[in-house]
């Protein structure tokens, strides 16, 4: 089970992270991987926190829950504060600098990108921030074949918005290639 990859997508309800996790899982299927997708439900889903997990493996996946994330996406401050302490030093951590700021321990590899603001400013549509985040995430982790992922995104997009969503995904790649920043004050520090 050494190939098990656990991806945790976290943020606020309404940011489309559950959909993102489903799209990612579907892409993984198309990429011939074993995959399990789960999500936390709760009255909290009413505007509160949102958390979903995707597990990839070449082997059959038994235990479906994320225990040690290998990739963590945080799309708001609350989730960053909550999940950061739960990951190990090897975890790839991606944060949306639009909403996340503050300091964190030096042992973490946090990469910060202006995900939502780019979606709004570059594409004019905040709602595709989730697909943009998937672009960043996949660029950073290389988990799924990029082309297959792009196609999956098209398939899942509401009618007429396939290309916009793909653009967002690509923009994620560009952001990643430009390199992570410490914009908006996300800085590595010993936790207080």
């Amino acid at each position: 089970m050494g190939n098990r990859q656990e991806i945790l997508l976290t943020g606020a309800g309404g940011q489309g992270l559950i959909l993102a996790s489903i799209v990612m899982a579907a892409a993984a299927v198309d990429d011939n991987k074993n995959v399990v997708q789960t999500q936390s439900y709760g009255p909290e889903a009413r505007g509160g926190a949102s958390m979903s997990g995707v597990i990839l493996d070449v082997d059959t996946i038994e235990y479906p829950k994320v225990t040690k994330p290998t990739v963590l996406l945080c799309m708001n401050q609350a989730s960053f504060n909550k999940y950061l302490p739960k990951v190990g030093p090897d975890c790839i951590i991606i944060v949306d600098s639009t909403f996340v700021s503050g300091s964190y321990g030096e042992e973490y590899k946090v990469q910060s990108f202006p995900i939502t603001s780019s979606a709004k400013e570059v594409l004019g549509k905040e709602v595709v921030a989730n697909m943009l985040a998937l672009g960043v995430l996949n660029a950073a982790s290389g988990l799924i074949d990029r082309e297959i992922f792009r196609e999956s995104i098209f398939k899942f997009a509401p009618r007429g918005s396939g290309e916009l969503n793909q653009k967002a995904f690509d923009l994620g790649y560009s952001l990643y290639e430009k390199g992570a920043g410490q914009k908006n004050g996300v800085s590595a520090q010993t936790p207080q």
Binding site: I22, A26, A28, V29, N34, V35, Y41, E62, P64, K65
Partner: protein, 374 residues
């Protein structure tokens, strides 16, 4: 033949799809977390294939409507969770008594009462057996994967039709809500419609054995009631007839036991420590056995139960003769472990492993317990 491609599917969705592929064309239900996706899938798909979806005023009415539609000749399904399952009990008993086929899905959540509506648990296992009043037989399947959710629903529909017996698919929140890769095979999924050929001496409750349900509206004027009845369906309180009627209900399950009781064993042939479990907990157990036996060749095995009722008594008896210790992980305070203990008959030590905080039992928890007894 075209290649059958794998797809990503949710457990609840697979259940709905399985039902449809097994010929279900009628769904009546009332929404409740974490089962609602079954209804939503049905609401989307049934109208497209000429089926009926109806959201009833409550779970009692849903159960009633499903029975009514079955008497009309449709294959039917309803889905709910704990609180709704409690409400369905009276009419579930009716379906058993009147021998009306139907499938009831209960996607378990954390109880008792409203509990934690979104947290997983396996707390309705005993209720599934004993929830309605009076002696009654029941069949209960417990899928452990999205694929099992699919095919056990199909099995449920077909068995229900064949035996004229309600069947329960007892999912849990983990399996119901999880999405995973599945490959849906092609092929025939519906057993013959038992009512296609009605013998000339047809009786609705023939004492000789299984007898097809002839739907209403075809000129066979018979009576259906929840009272004890004779083989023509008419009420009776006559003691010998009452006894025969109850025997009839139970005997059909006895007779077809081998088709009904599905279990699966992996691991060491002569295990010292065996795990017995069902539903999502099977996954954690399987992770443990894979490592302990496949990798480390330890004398460990797993009997996973796709059918929990009728209880796989024979299988447990046999296992207890092999193993020193049987560990029974359950996401409740210990329910099926009682039956395991009963049928272990003192031959193996039976160890409950319970978790009831609304979280899944992890492989680590199980392997720790296994380690303790190796």
């Amino acid at each position: 033949m075209p290649e059958t491609k794998p797809v990503l599917m949710q457990g609840n969705e697979a259940c709905a799809l399985g039902a449809i592929n097994a010929g279900v064309r009628f769904y009546a239900g009332y929404p409740i977390t974490p089962s609602t996706e079954v209804a939503e899938q049905m609401a989307a798909r049934l109208p497209e294939i000429g089926g009926v979806f109806i959201q009833m005023e409550d779970e009692i009415a849903s159960m009633a409507a499903v029975i009514g539609a079955s008497i009309g000749g449709m294959r039917t399904l309803t889905a709910t969770s704990g609180p709704g399952f409690s409400l369905k009990q009276e009419n579930l008993g009716y379906a058993i008594m009147a021998e009306i086929p139907c499938v009831v899905v209960n996607v378990q959540r954390m109880g008792p009462s409203t509990g934690v509506p979104t947290a997983p648990a396996q707390g309705d296992v005993m209720q599934a057996r004993w929830g309605t009043h009076g002696d009654h037989p029941i069949i209960v399947f417990t899928p452990a994967s999205v694929y099992e959710s699919y095919y056990l629903t199909i099995a449920a529909v077909n068995l229900s039709q064949k035996l004229r017996q309600p069947v329960i698919v007892l999912l849990d929140e983990v399996i119901g809500h999880m999405r995973e890769k599945v490959t849906i095979p092609e092929g025939k999924l519906m057993v013959e419609k038992s009512s296609d050929k009605v013998p000339s001496d047809w009786k609705p409750y023939d004492e000789k054995g299984l007898t097809p349900l002839v739907p209403f509206g075809f000129g066979h004027y018979y009576h259906v009631t929840g009272l004890f009845h004779d083989q023509y369906g008419f009420p009776t309180g006559d003691p010998p007839q009452v006894e025969r009627a109850l025997d009839r209900l139970h005997n059909k399950l006895e007779k077809y036991r081998d088709e009904i009781v599905l279990t699966n064993y992996i691991g060491h042939k002569e295990p010292r420590v065996a795990i017995v479990t069902y539903g999502c907990t099977v996954r954690s157990a399987r992770a443990v056995v894979k490592k302990a036996y496949w990798q480390n060749r330890l004398p460990v095995g797993l009997l996973s139960l796709q059918t929990v009722w009728p209880f796989p008594a024979k299988e447990i008896e046999a296992l207890a003769k092999q193993a020193d210790v049987i560990i029974v992980p359950e996401m409740n305070m210990g329910q099926l472990v009682g039956e395991v203990e009963r049928y272990a008959r003192g031959e193996a030590k039976v160890v409950p492993l319970n978790r009831y905080d609304g979280e899944m039992i992890s492989p680590d928890q199980i392997s720790e317990e296994v380690g303790r007894w190796l």
